[in-house]
Symmetry: C2
Subunit: 159 residues, 2 copies
């Protein structure tokens, strides 16, 4: 529609995330069968000091949609990152943490849920980018269990 | 990419929202100058029991991006709707309320914010759809003020 606006200077430390990333991950949790998934993540911007974040995964077996989440990544001063996320499971989440070079470590600082949502207490998220390769891992505290490994994936920048 | 999947039966009461809506609105608040804005809202689905919601506004004066929010609308039993939203201002929000025909009334049931976010306490949202015309109004409680009219707009379905 319109030409891409210039990057907001506050976004420079997070510019290494911009683009579309696709790849494959593995999921596990004590209460479920392990599973493999395909994933696409897009980071974009509109010239303002936040990244627009969109994500979706599909099941390896039949390509059916699995998870989707959407939100914004915000620089929050030197070495700090904030994440605001909405999940279609009825959960919204604030994560905050650190940025060192191209490595991000975040943990949940607040969760809110709708009346009918499942019980997820907290997540941690470790993201590491090496050129056009992104690796992440995620731990989840849910259904009464402490933070436990849940997801890990390797994605490649495709655009 | 892939053909559109069948609508999840739980989504039927909200199917009247599907599509892309564009139009114009007016903003006001005791602490700001009134302003006009253009808006595009998209409701889509992936065959699961939620609507994917994406929204953006631009300023009438120069077309610069104003607000953006993203999240999911969820049917929550007969006559009930839940909304999970992320705002790039560092705020996540749960709204819950009622659906009567094609009229939706929602209010904030939970808000969480990042360390650097501004202080928004609550919003109410009234949405009314008449065929391909959507009208909404929004009240906001922020910066120490009670719920006060903030936005109203009329949008037309364009796809």
């Amino acid at each position: 529609m319109t030409a891409s606006p210039p990057l907001h200077p506050d976004l420079a430390p997070l510019a290494f995330l911009l683009g579309t990333w696709t790849g494959h991950g593995q999921g596990e949790y004590p209460t479920i069968e392990p599973f493999g998934y395909g994933e696409t993540i897009t980071f974009s911007h509109v010239g303002k000091p936040f990244l627009i974040y969109d994500q979706r995964t599909t099941h390896d077996d039949d390509g059916r949609p699995l998870h989707k989440e959407t939100g914004f990544w915000r620089p929050a001063g030197p070495g700090r990152v904030e994440l605001v996320l909405a999940h279609p499971t009825g959960i919204v989440e604030i994560q905050e943490g650190t940025l060192e070079g191209t490595t991000i470590d975040l943990k949940t600082t607040a969760v809110a849920r709708t009346s009918t949502a499942k019980d997820i207490e907290a997540l941690t998220r470790h993201v590491d980018v090496d050129g056009d390769v992104m690796r992440y891992s995620l731990e989840m505290a849910a259904v009464g269990r402490p933070l436990t490994p849940h997801l890990r994936a390797e994605l490649h920048r495709s655009g």
